[in-house]
């Protein structure tokens, strides 16, 4: 018995603990975020609520959290400070690609109520070593101010998901920190920190059902995003339409020099890369003379980001390896746009829609990016009764082209005032059909 006690006693000083003053300060900077948000599914505007975590980073009340916690669909954001005071906040900007969002505390209210809060410091995620102890702080399942401990399992994890953040694309332009610190729903947006309280990541997601496989956005990425969101409220990226693949083990197949090149898995239809004549199966060797090394999955985000961070409209000179020889292609970048367009619910019709985006139109081989996709209909309401179903693309309303959501809103407003039959033209798999919404 004594032996065991001694043993434990010896161990304690060696185990990482988070009792530093820096960590205390971090704890005081972590907040719980309650969000009330609107959704447009099922033909109606519905209000839902969600809970997440966040960390205060500046004296002027900037809080970093996840894009899947606070999005532009949030209608009310309430922050619970460490002092257990609740304060309102507003969205500064979000970026689903990195799953980061920035909100700002209502500073007038803070002043009026004479509230105070601590701010946390961002650490350097590049210096993290696998095996290093880290701590996650957040609100798992609503349990406020929960601290869990783990290690950095992998400091450069590739994790891409085409509809990972509220149906939006994520993960193409950054790698993630993988940790075994327990991350549960509600931890989202909370910090992953070192024992001295430096924020090295923002906890974002975990594998459901897996044992402690969780992912955080590195602070290095966060630093860049914060700067751009504060300045512009949005992140602008460039796009050329290359879908990368790993070259791992295929260098021999393609007869390439070692440690070079990235496989172009496919090229988006109609994209600048496609127009320039790039094709799936080509190997990208360099961008504007800078060599590219994309043999492994974790190397791909960096290359993608290299293209994305160039100004929109700039010409890139891409060196391509095809059929045993190199060739150069000039590609003009365009602005990166999500596949997911703006959403709206036309409640009188019981119809939820999403604007067709350029990306969506290309993916579906549509001639134009006009129209809006039906994402839900409310049973018993005119849209559902007419026979319209999810996935139909509404092209015309009362013979007017739906070039924007505004046009549909005008038609809907007119219907709300004086209901009368509405003629709707749709397309589904390139098949044109007509429907009538009857009052």
């Amino acid at each position: 018995m004594l032996n065991i006690l001694l043993w434990v006693g010896l161990l304690l000083p060696l185990t990482a603990s988070a009792t530093s003053s820096g960590f205390k300060r971090l704890l005081d900077a972590v907040v719980k975020i309650d969000v009330r948000e609107v959704s447009f599914e099922g033909g109606t505007k519905r209000f839902g609520s969600g809970i997440g975590s966040g960390v205060i980073l500046s004296k002027d009340g900037l809080i970093l959290t996840n894009a899947h916690v606070v999005s532009p669909e949030a209608v009310e954001i309430n922050v619970t400070l460490a002092s257990l005071e609740r304060v309102g906040a507003t969205l500064v900007g979000w970026d689903h690609w990195t799953d980061l969002a920035l909100i700002r505390l209502d500073m007038d209210e803070i002043k009026k109520r004479k509230l105070s809060f601590a701010t946390a410091k961002l650490g350097n995620s590049d210096k993290l070593q696998p095996g290093q102890t880290v701590f996650a702080v957040g609100t798992p399942y609503g349990l406020t101010r929960t601290v869990t401990r783990g290690i950095v399992s992998n400091a450069r994890r590739h994790f891409e998901d085409s509809r990972g953040v509220r149906g939006y694309e994520t993960g193409a332009f950054n790698t993630w920190l993988q940790t075994d610190a327990a991350i549960n729903p509600g931890n989202s947006g909370g910090p992953l920190a070192t024992e001295n309280g430096k924020v090295v990541g923002i906890n974002s997601r975990g594998y459901l059902g897996a044992d402690n496989l969780a992912f955080a956005i590195p602070s290095k990425v966060a630093r860049q995003i914060i700067g751009a969101l504060v300045a512009d409220g949005e992140i602008t990226r460039s796009y050329v339409g290359i879908v990368p693949g790993v070259l791992q083990d295929l260098e021999g197949f393609y007869e390439l020099a070692q440690n070079t090149g990235m496989l172009i898995k496919s090229v988006d239809t109609g994209s600048p890369a496609a127009q320039a004549g790039l094709r799936g199966g080509d190997i990208l060797l360099s961008i504007d003379g800078e060599k590219v090394d994309g043999r492994f999955p974790e190397q791909l985000p960096e290359i993608q980001n290299q293209i994305a961070s160039r100004p929109v409209g700039e010409e890139l000179k891409l060196e391509i390896f095809r059929n045993g020889s190199s060739l150069y292609k000039s590609v003009k970048t365009e602005k990166l746009i999500s596949r997911v367009g703006e959403e709206e619910a036309f409640e009188e019709w019981g119809l939820s829609v999403r604007k067709v985006s350029r990306t969506y139109a290309r993916e579906h081989q549509l001639e134009k990016s006009d129209g809006m996709v039906v994402i839900g209909v409310r049973p018993g309401y005119p849209a559902a009764v007419s026979g319209l179903t999810r996935g139909d693309i509404i092209l015309k309303i009362n013979r007017q082209d739906v070039t924007s959501l505004e046009i549909a809103k005008e038609q809907h407003d007119a219907y709300a005032v004086a209901p009368s039959s509405v003629l709707v033209e749709t397309s589904r798999n390139h098949r044109v059909s007509l429907y009538v919404f009857k009052p």
Partner: protein, 464 residues
């Protein structure tokens, strides 16, 4: 009593029993002669498959029809061989060869003709029996089915009552249960010819299991028997449509794609009472429809002055319109009444013979590469939403599993645009290049550029 008279008496007695047994039994015995079992073989890249189906005799020349579903859509008539027939209930060791005559697009029938005179002489065409008037609901009708080859295609009696009559768009009787073998004739109580049971509907059920408590919808399809009878009036007038070539040419072409029916609410909104309309989704390039100025989104309202009929379900009007087209001939003029936005117009279109179909296209299999290429056809361009005018390339019609082409990632129906960096200008050229590659035993690899669902990919096919 002498021995001779005894024999005589026995003979008369049996004759009496048989006649007195039932008139239906006699009719059954006779009408078995109108049907045969048909067998043919399909030559594919890897094997030779046999198909058994049932046929109906339509004339004294030994001509037999069977539904075209028996032949897969991807099969070229050139792959079909060794047609033969068997008499129901006779040993299958005795087969009679037949010649494939082709498919008729309008009726959807495949035609064959029995070669041997002796076999022809034993067949009785359905035209030997009187045409029945349209049956009434509740009327009892009967037919026959044939068992499998292992049971010598033994004929069996089937019977049911007419449950409902519909125009789909052909006049059709649906029986309460299966009433004959698929594609085989149905008769009334007087032995008159009611119609052919062609196709059928799957029957929907819910399947409950211990694990799936809510029930899973399942559709049960009887592949050998049918309860759906296309009436004689829809069959007898078209028995003379015996193809003159195995491709079934001419095939009439208008060039409207993706016809969609108007539902009754829309029709009413557009002030079209008691008639149907068809929205044209797409007008195909260089088609008769395009030449005469039809536009996508025009609504077809009438054909040669007759409004499109209201048929149920709504989509039946599509088949109605397509049948009306395919019963015509290339060169025929049709006048289409259309609605364009809010304006009604009449447009005259001269029908043409359809462009080459994938069924007719040239194909060639390269065993060492593990792929079959097929000539690019007009419809391939339409399906891939490519500009048909600058069409080229060949289609990967078949890709053999675990062979060089499939290992490189080639998929069935990929469009091959380039071979070894050379743009494919024609099928012949592609075949010649691939032949060269297949012959060259020294060659280590070749490169294909393929298009698939809007994407383009470079595939390196390793031969060694």
């Amino acid at each position: 009593m002498t021995r001779r008279s005894l024999v005589l008496i026995v003979f008369t007695l049996t004759a009496l029993i048989s006649r007195g047994g039932s008139a239906l039994a006699d009719m059954w015995q006779d009408r078995v002669k109108t049907v045969v079992a048909v067998e043919f073989f399909t030559e594919t890249e890897l094997d030779r498959r046999s198909t058994n189906t049932f046929g109906v005799v339509i004339d004294d020349m030994g001509t037999i029809i069977f539904p075209s579903q028996a032949i897969g859509a991807r099969i070229s008539p050139k792959q079909l061989e060794d047609f033969r027939i068997y008499f129901p209930g006779e040993p299958t060791t005795q087969e009679y060869s037949a010649t494939y005559l082709g498919r008729d697009e309008f009726t959807g029938w495949e035609f064959i003709r029995v070669d041997e005179e002796a076999a022809r002489a034993r067949l009785v065409p359905i035209t030997a029996y009187e045409e029945a008037p349209e049956p009434i609901v509740t009327e009892e009708i009967w037919g026959l089915g044939l068992k499998k080859k292992t049971e010598d295609f033994l004929p069996y009696f089937m019977s049911s009552r007419v449950s409902v009559l519909q125009s789909l768009p052909q006049r059709t009787a649906i029986a309460a249960q299966e009433v004959s073998g698929l594609g085989l004739p149905v008769y009334d109580q007087e032995g008159r010819f009611v119609g052919l049971s062609i196709g059928g509907f799957g029957r929907s059920f819910l399947q409950y299991t211990a694990r799936i408590r809510g029930g899973v919808p399942v559709v049960l399809v009887n592949p050998d028997e049918s309860a759906v009878v296309i009436l004689a009036q829809e069959i007898l007038p078209y028995l003379n449509r015996i193809p003159t070539n195995i491709e079934g040419r001419p095939i009439v072409w208008l060039g409207t794609n993706g016809l969609q029916p108007l539902d009754p609410v829309v029709a009413r909104y557009l002030e079209l009472e008691n008639q149907a309309g068809l929205v044209i989704s797409e007008i195909l390039e260089d088609s008769p429809a395009e030449k005469m100025g039809l536009l996508a989104r025009d609504v077809i309202l009438s054909l040669d002055g007759d409004p499109l009929p209201v048929l149920k379900p709504d989509h039946v009007v599509i088949t109605y319109f397509q049948r009306e087209m395919s019963r015509r001939n290339p060169g025929d003029k049709v006048v289409l009444g259309i609605l364009r936005d809010t304006e009604r117009q009449q447009i005259e279109v001269v029908l043409e013979d359809a462009p080459l179909t994938p069924r007719e296209a040239e194909r060639r299999y390269f065993d060492s590469l593990g792929m079959t290429i097929r000539e690019f056809t007009y419809i391939d361009g339409v399906q891939r939403r490519l500009d048909v005018a600058d069409h080229h390339g060949v289609i990967a019609h078949f890709v053999k599993a675990n062979a060089p082409a499939s290992t490189a990632g080639l998929l069935t129906d990929d469009l091959i645009d380039e071979i070894d960096g050379v743009k494919v200008a024609s099928y012949e050229e592609a075949a010649a290049i691939l032949e060269g590659i297949a012959q060259d035993k020294e060659r280590g690899e070749f490169v294909l550029l393929v298009k698939r669902a809007g994407d383009t990919a470079v595939l390196r096919v390793k031969l060694k």
